[in-house]
Symmetry: C2
């Protein structure tokens, strides 16, 4: 599979001088990324495209071609695949729509293409997809114009091309973390989610895997691949087609056959896959899992600059299956000495009174240290907001605490002024501490970390037992 | 109650030259807002504060004072209330903490103050709160430094001062809608959520009411007020202290006694209050309810620029209790004629194929019109994203459609590039069309509109029957 992510040379069939054509955008994207292999635009009307020599067919290219990206109407795809077979390319990424998702004729065409490819030993990604994005090796087949691309620890397996594009645009423009690999699979006539998982579990740049699936091609193979993958890194899945209406829409979108949703849920659970309901959750969980250690238990310590937020986040924590970390009296007493007389220091820690006596920075430092020091703490939630623009404070000390008390994940919630939130977001996420605008979301992500750690613990125990 | 929101004159006890003291921020906020009444800073060390003459006590002020804001330590508050009684002020807003929320001594002090106030006919807001913000009449008692303030259709009743500040900062810096009134109630020794509801249901500027509550003082009165309020405008409530841990935290935060959460939920439902779980939901629902007509049924029409989003939003709609609007074949046929041959036009409407033949703008216009034209449509969801920065398109035609087919709410979801999302957000929310970054959130808000309309329909039916 590695040639799909990092080919030595690539032909783009359907590149033209029209800048809105998918083929042209793909060539532009390869140039923007700085792809270091050879690029061969292919077009029946030979034109000079972005300064590159153009060929009328794949067969005509004089040098060897490792991967071919196909962005011409489905009716012309079969001939392209025949050319690829003749040229002995290793893999073909088919962007074009008009196959299995579009009815009987498309199903037939897709099968014909697959037959030609199989007999020539060619692997296919797609059709009906954006295919690959690999910022580390500067390769892509995406037809969504890439404006900015960030390398990072999160991989994404997507079924639908457009959607892979939307999520990438979102992540690259709004998130701090970057992407290791994207595999858009489309109709999945050949390469499927199990192949992608098997590849990404071994990818050294990938610390967490996000998936968007409309169908699962081969349940047994998928489960096997997922079990192997979740043994080494977290896998998050958003699976649509949950309702009959959604499943019907999926048929005409990617030609997906419906899976029984209860079975899907049970299978995900068994394989240690964390199932989510929305893109926001994929991103929320992915950054915590990629950046932070796993929560090894259910005892959450909460530090809050707002009493109201302390109340609400305690509620949210309990509802998400956490317990509030029990605090030994001597730890509380240490801080209580500094509290104003009218307030009591307790857990969840409402630190507003403490800011009145020791200031904002010290109040955060003392109470967050208190949380880390407590041997009963499995995870820490810090809730802050923008009280006065004049009072700045930094959270750099959290990294030092994490080094001193390793294995405790931390998530920060910042509510209030947008500008302040964005400053804090870049300050903290730059240090790989995830920031959320809502404590419900932070707590859900910590819960995902805890559940995954629990699964890993159980699986490892079973494995250790088997090995004895 | 009107004097609390729009007093002719106000004294601020605890104003000083230290710019970080709450009293000083309150005076600054009044000046920033452009409050048109008289402001009397009160401080035992008479200083010139922000160019205003300062008095050593309320009693010393020569003119009549309608409202007094108290921002001095709790130990000094009782004397201030006595001065207020002597001065015959109408209302006192007590910012200070250190009362019922801080233990026995505080409980006693709060009761003493209340006794003095009651016998003098003075109403109290607080203690332990930010109190009032009324952008229309340029009055506030908030101690959170106001940077920007926007007038608008949404009122907020908050229990906790800090939180009222956080949410206001968030709304004013990030949201398009503005605020009609804020009532921060704190410990609620006198004015409570029922008083606030009764006032706001009659407020002409308020189209929707958001509440954050840690406790309900008098269940019966509250229910009565809520039933009356929801008959004329939507009321959204976030009620914390749902778990024993949260309730315990609430005691030390605002001295709130726990309410049985199941009873709270049942009571809210009976009174037509929409209960939410997070601040984000308060805001999401409030803007839809304040901007858009109510969804008079459960038939949702979905137009999506992404096939994947069409699948996922169909799932989300069904799970939220919507049905997909049935489309008569002749309406589908009208559009199908323009589709490329390989794609079928069906509901949910995946319009990506149509953009290939008629362009982005026409594709949106035709399909959204199709949704409005359908007599079976109760609500419309539009899902868009940023495909190419070069292709701009406008949604102005949606307002025209809403005028032609009245009574159908619309919500838009925009996924993808941050810059594009922000452009679309200001374009659409400027026209009072709510925009969400996630279709789950848009659908939840449409569901809140539908549920509230259903409640209103049932209530009105009962009323009509009774009147006959």
């Amino acid at each position: 599979m590695d040639f799909f992510f990092n080919p030595k040379s690539v032909a783009v069939v359907g590149a033209s001088q029209n800048p809105f054509k998918f083929g042209s955008i793909i060539v532009r994207n390869l140039l923007t990324l700085g792809y270091e292999g050879r690029i061969y635009p292919v077009n029946p009307n030979p034109e000079d495209i972005a300064g590159l020599k153009t060929y009328t067919s794949v067969a005509e290219i004089p040098e060897p071609v490792e991967v071919v990206i196909v962005a011409v109407p489905s009716s012309r795809s079969l001939q392209v695949i025949r050319d690829c077979a003749q040229k002995r390319v290793k893999g073909v990424i088919i962007i074009s729509s008009g196959f299995k998702e579009s009815g009987e004729e498309g199903v037939r065409l897709q099968q014909l293409m697959l037959d030609v490819a199989r007999s020539a030993g060619i692997r296919i990604i797609g059709p009906n997809t954006t295919g690959i994005l690999n910022p580390h090796d500067k390769f892509t087949s995406t037809f969504v114009l890439l404006r900015e691309v960030k390398k990072g620890p999160v991989a994404f397996i997507a079924q639908t091309g457009m959607f892979a594009g939307m999520l990438m645009e979102w992540i690259f423009s709004s998130e701090s973390f970057g992407i290791s690999k994207v595999a858009g699979l489309g109709n999945k006539c050949d390469v499927d989610e199990a192949d992608a998982l098997e590849y990404l579990m071994r990818d050294e740049h990938t610390k967490a895997i996000m998936m968007y699936l409309e169908s699962i091609v081969d349940g047994r193979r998928f489960l096997q691949a997922a079990r192997a993958a979740t043994r080494v890194k977290p896998v998050l899945a958003l699976k649509s087609g949950q309702t009959p209406e959604g499943a019907a829409a999926a048929v005409s979108h990617t030609g997906s056959l419906a899976n029984n949703d209860a079975i899907v849920s049970a299978a995900f659970k068994q394989a240690g896959i964390i199932r989510v309901d929305a893109f926001q959750e994929l991103i929320d969980h992915a950054k915590l899992l990629a950046y932070q250690p796993l929560a090894r238990g259910d005892r959450l310590s909460i530090v809050s600059l707002s009493g109201g937020a302390a109340v609400m986040s305690a509620d949210a924590a309990i509802k998400a299956g956490f317990r509030l970390t029990p605090f030994p009296q001597e730890l509380l007493d240490e801080v209580q000495r500094l509290y104003p007389p009218w307030a009591t220091f307790r857990h969840p820690m409402d630190i507003e009174p403490l800011t009145e006596t020791v200031g904002m920075q010290r109040a955060f430092e003392m109470t967050i240290e208190c949380a880390f020091k407590n041997p009963a703490t499995d995870a820490v939630l810090v809730v802050t907001w923008s009280p006065f623009p004049e009072i700045g404070f930094t959270f750099g000390f959290i990294k030092e605490l994490q080094a001193r008390y390793p294995g405790i994940p931390v998530a920060v919630t910042s509510i209030g002024h947008k500008e302040y939130h964005e400053d804090l977001f870049s300050h903290l996420e730059g240090m790989q501490i995830p920031v959320y605008p809502d404590f419900n979301r932070a707590i859900k992500s910590l819960a995902a970390s805890r559940d995954y750690a629990r699964y890993r613990g159980q699986t490892l125990t079973i494995f250790t037992r088997c090995e004895k």
